[in-house]
């Protein structure tokens, strides 16, 4: 099993292939539905004026994201009252909802890894080739197990998005993932979709 430290270099990313199991260590940020839309609307397509602490948050997360990883995750966090945050349960959420945004966000912030579940589509795969980047699949529902690899919560941005939607900056040790989309155009999800489509066609032909 490959052990990698974030940030990830372009050479490291290019060496990864679909099917490679990886243990990730270092600093990453969670971000899901609200965050992706906020990033694209406010800083990439600029259809919305920055407001509140938007610009400060942008300045803070930009260097953290560069060369690093965004994790599609809405965790269960304890210590909300005392701000002694601890991740209690933190598996991946379904990634495909970020398909309209992910490629733009990867290119804008130079994000080299996206962790989630279920895989993503053609736009994200193209961004993986361009940036370069990889899609890393975590095991959906393995929330207690993954939370144990989160050694520290370093901070949180956009807490007002709600606990599941906020950007949590976390330090992880040996976070287990599998490469399912690589920077060479390979996608396990596209393969499985195609195979299962052929199997479905045969089943539909039966009475």
């Amino acid at each position: 099993m490959l052990s990698l430290n974030m940030p990830l270099s372009p050479e490291t990313i290019r060496s990864l292939k679909v099917g490679d199991p990886v243990l990730l260590s270092g600093t990453m940020i969670t971000g899901r539905d609200t965050v992706h839309k906020w990033m694209v609307d406010t800083f990439i397509k600029r259809t919305r004026e920055p407001q509140g602490d938007d610009l400060e948050v942008y300045a803070a997360v930009k260097p953290l994201l560069e060369g690093s990883v965004i994790y599609h995750c809405g965790p269960v966090v304890s210590g909300l009252d005392t701000k002694q945050y601890k991740f209690v349960a933190a598996g991946p959420t379904t990634s495909i909802r970020e398909e309209p945004y992910q490629g733009l966000v990867m290119e804008h912030f130079q994000i080299r890894g996206v962790i989630g579940k279920g895989g993503m589509g053609a736009k994200t795969l193209a961004a993986c080739q361009a940036v370069p980047g990889v899609y890393l699949h975590a095991i959906g529902g393995a929330a207690s197990l993954i939370a144990q690899t989160v050694t520290r919560v370093l901070g949180v941005y956009k807490y007002d998005f709600g606990v599941p939607e906020a950007m949590w900056v976390i330090e992880v040790k040996d976070f287990p993932v599998v490469v399912t989309m690589d920077s060479h155009g390979g996608s396990l999800h596209a393969e499985v979709e195609e195979r299962s489509r052929a199997a479905l066609k045969e089943l539909l032909a039966k009475a």
Binding site: I139, A142, Q148, G162, P164
Partner: protein, 295 residues
């Protein structure tokens, strides 16, 4: 009327952190089906480890603790208004104790209520008066990933891109659209899933029934022999699609299929499918006198 808030809190804790034995047994059987060293087997092994860890540490199996759906069967004389209050209090406490993630979001302004309450539909509570003196509460936690891949078909149904997909208003048509839904879902709903299928009803009652049928045990049989045969056939055929655990490819795409049927209008023939993720969290408490039994 007794105050059951603490007992309901325990029901929530149990449901979120301790996977029911029938589901765990099915997952353990599934591990053996997958090739050693495959991504599918690795995913299932991780799932089993996580189930064990969550039970030991009393932490949520999945961070998406979903929509809490309560089915309450109460004897005559109980106040549903007070029961609702007790359920809501238990849900707030369970959120504070990190058994539940704050999951209730205002659809207009995006604000998370922070305590899993919000309007009269969150949490979701269904009340039915029953005979006898036992109160039964069933709780199901249904996550968003699997909820999003649920589907409703209006038969006859076809796809222009797939001429073989021609589903008419009979069980053969039902079979085709259910297989289509499993294919559409791929791994997005945290496969291996469990399919809740309702034939008939209207758009609202069909979906509601497709969830309620999921309270059945995985290893039971449908009393209707026709539906029982269809349940078994759909499970077997869905597993032939090679979608596999997490959509990695493999032999285990669904753990089971449960079908129910409702009367319909002459003009309508809906097939509603609720996809339940492998983290099939449903538990039951029965209150009789001062005894509370959990299962």
């Amino acid at each position: 009327m007794p105050d059951l808030t603490e007992k309901i809190l325990e029901l929530v804790r149990l449901t979120s952190t301790d996977l029911p034995p029938d589901v765990e047994a099915a997952l353990r059987r599934a591990v053996e089906q997958e090739a050693p060293g495959s991504a599918a087997r690795g995913a299932l092994e991780t799932i089993i480890q996580n189930v064990e860890l969550s039970r030991r540490n009393s932490t949520p199996i999945c961070q998406d603790t979903g929509t809490p759906i309560f089915y309450v069967y109460y004897p005559a004389g109980w106040s549903t208004r007070q029961l609702r209050q007790q359920i809501e209090d238990a849900v707030v406490q369970a959120t504070r104790k990190s058994y539940l993630r704050p999951n209730s979001v205002d659809s207009l302004n995006g604000k998370n209520s922070g305590n899993n309450l919000g309007g009269s539909h969150f949490p979701s509570i269904h009340f039915t008066e029953v005979e006898g003196d036992a109160l039964t509460i069933e709780l199901m936690l249904k996550g968003g990933g699997c909820e999003n891949v649920g589907a409703q078909y209006s038969l006859p149904f076809g796809r222009t891109a797939e001429p073989a997909m021609q589903a008419g208003r009979d069980l053969a048509g039902v079979r085709k659209v259910v297989l289509d839904a499993v294919h559409q879902a791929q791994g997005q709903g945290c496969a291996p899933g469990i399919l809740g299928v309702a034939i008939g009803g209207d758009r609202g009652t069909g979906y509601a029934a497709s969830k309620e049928v999921l309270v059945r045990k995985l290893d039971d049989s449908n009393p209707d022999p026709q539906l029982d045969a269809l349940e078994k056939r759909l499970t077997e055929e869905a597993n032939g699609l090679d979608i596999g655990p997490m959509g990695f490819g493999g032999k285990t795409t669904v753990l089971g299929t449960k079908i129910t049927h409702l009367n319909r209008l002459p003009a309508s023939f809906f097939v509603s499918i609720s996809y339940m993720c492998w983290a099939y969290r449903r538990r039951k408490m029965v209150v009789q006198g001062d005894q509370v039994h959990y299962s």
